[in-house]
């Protein structure tokens, strides 16, 4: 096995805008020597059937993610704040839609 060519290539995450007006959405990942190659490969691997109009590639190492172990601490408090939702407030029926 050739050590020079078989060392791990950096990983990139691929995001695709499927249609105008939509945001870019994560579709998968791939390896490439640099961002330019990642973009070319993403086009071949992830858009063979008109899946997109625009591609972003981001080096996976550049992503900072929340820890799944912190899920409750981070997100549970929002569940108790029901006054953040419009249905919390009462409006008389005869006022109509608001």
């Amino acid at each position: 096995m050739n050590v020079m060519t078989d060392k791990n290539w950096p990983l990139f995450e691929v995001f695709i805008r499927s249609r105008g007006g939509m945001s870019h959405r994560h579709v998968g990942s791939l390896h490439a020597v640099d961002a330019e190659m990642a973009l070319q490969n993403a086009r071949d691997v992830y858009t063979r059937r008109g899946e997109g109009l625009s591609i972003w590639v981001v080096a996976s190492a550049a992503i900072t993610a929340s820890d799944p172990g912190d899920k409750d601490m981070l997100f549970e408090p929002t569940a108790s704040k029901i006054y953040r939702h419009p249905t919390f407030y009462k409006v008389p029926d005869d006022v109509g839609h608001m």
Binding site: T5, N8, G28, H31, V33, V45, R48, R49, D67
Partner: protein, 333 residues
């Protein structure tokens, strides 16, 4: 199916601390929650998934070979374009799956190395030869048909990245099966010689296609744990029966005869009953003694070796560009 090498049981003893986490993990699975890469998971779950997903990926990559064999000899430009697109899809499917396996802390290079060293398993079906153009029809119709039967439930697999890869793959596979069936249809309605080609392809691919689903439930050691973890949703025998029930009428519509004198419809159950499968042949192929096993590995190794200069050039080019842009930045400062 594409993961027939899962024939040994992991010996793993959980520590008491793990037992509690494992119970919580199982509760999430039972509640149909998806497990994501950074979530805690039992070592056995991780190992099973790495093996299953990588075997599946290897199958896609090796699966390009029997069909690639006919690209230059496709009978028309239409057939050639379709076959090229199909083989390119298989390559793409292999890449989605390798990426899913890599989320479990294994590198692409390790997986490829296992395949090239002959240590990894891939589906037995790809060790059979494609002797005539009709075999390309039979592969699309039967092999991809069997694969779809197996893969649709995998879209609901408990491991998120695998399930998401399978959704993409299933969307793309239905074209594969239809293009194969169309080849069989054209040959079946052609000259006597063409129809004989289609019949011969069915004769050769039918039993190996049934073997793709893996050993009978009575002998498969992995089903219980995989079912509990919702990596697997149906047993091998259930999926095989579903495939037979769906495929036999399609074959009859072609006017072809299945190479199984015991094949008959059970009016009461509505299922097609079929003759015994030669499991010794299956074991031999899985053990590495298939008709084309050596050719397949040789072809993969050669492709990897032939591509070495491309990988080297890509790295050198990237390094040069990086150096140039660094120098330009330095000059600007």
């Amino acid at each position: 199916m594409y993961t027939q090498g899962l024939n040994t049981i992991d010996a793993h003893a959980a520590s008491p601390a793990d037992a509690e986490r494992e119970a919580r993990f199982q509760a999430r699975i039972d509640a149909d929650e998806k497990i994501e890469p950074n979530d805690w998971m039992p070592a056995g779950y991780r190992r099973t998934l790495i093996r299953q997903i990588s075997q599946h990926a290897h199958s896609e990559i090796v699966g390009m070979l029997p069909e690639g064999n006919w690209i230059t000899r496709a009978p028309s430009l239409r057939r050639k374009a379709a076959l090229l697109a199909k083989v390119q899809d298989e390559g793409g499917h292999g890449l989605y799956l390798y990426a899913a396996a890599e989320t479990l802390d294994v590198t692409r290079e390790e997986l490829v190395e296992q395949l090239l060293a002959g240590k990894a398993k891939y589906s037995s079906i790809f060790n059979y030869p494609t002797l005539t153009w009709a075999d390309i029809g039979a592969i699309g119709w039967l092999v991809d048909g069997a694969a779809i039967m197996n893969q649709i439930p995998l879209c609901r697999c408990s491991y998120g990245p695998y399930a998401r890869a399978m959704i993409r793959i299933c969307k793309e596979e239905s074209f594969h099966q239809r293009q194969g069936y169309e080849i069989m249809l054209t040959l079946s309605r052609g000259t006597a010689e063409q129809k004989a080609l289609a019949q011969s392809a069915l004769d050769r691919w039918w039993r190996p296609s049934l073997m793709m689903f893996g050993p009978s439930d009575k002998e498969s050691q992995h089903s219980d744990t995989s079912m509990r973890w919702k990596i697997k949703r149906f047993t091998n025998d259930d999926l095989r029966q579903k495939f037979v029930d769906a495929t036999v009428p399609q074959g009859h519509a072609l006017g072809l005869v299945f190479p199984d004198p015991q094949l008959k419809l059970n009016e009461a159950s509505g299922h097609w009953e079929f003759g015994a499968i030669d499991w010794e042949e299956f074991r031999q192929v899985v053990a590495g003694n298939g008709p084309c096993t050596k050719d397949r590995l040789r072809a993969r190794r050669q492709a990897h070796a032939d591509g070495a200069w491309v990988r080297e050039a890509a790295l050198a080019h990237a390094a040069k560009r990086r150096a140039r842009s660094d120098a330009a930045q330095l000059a600007a400062e």
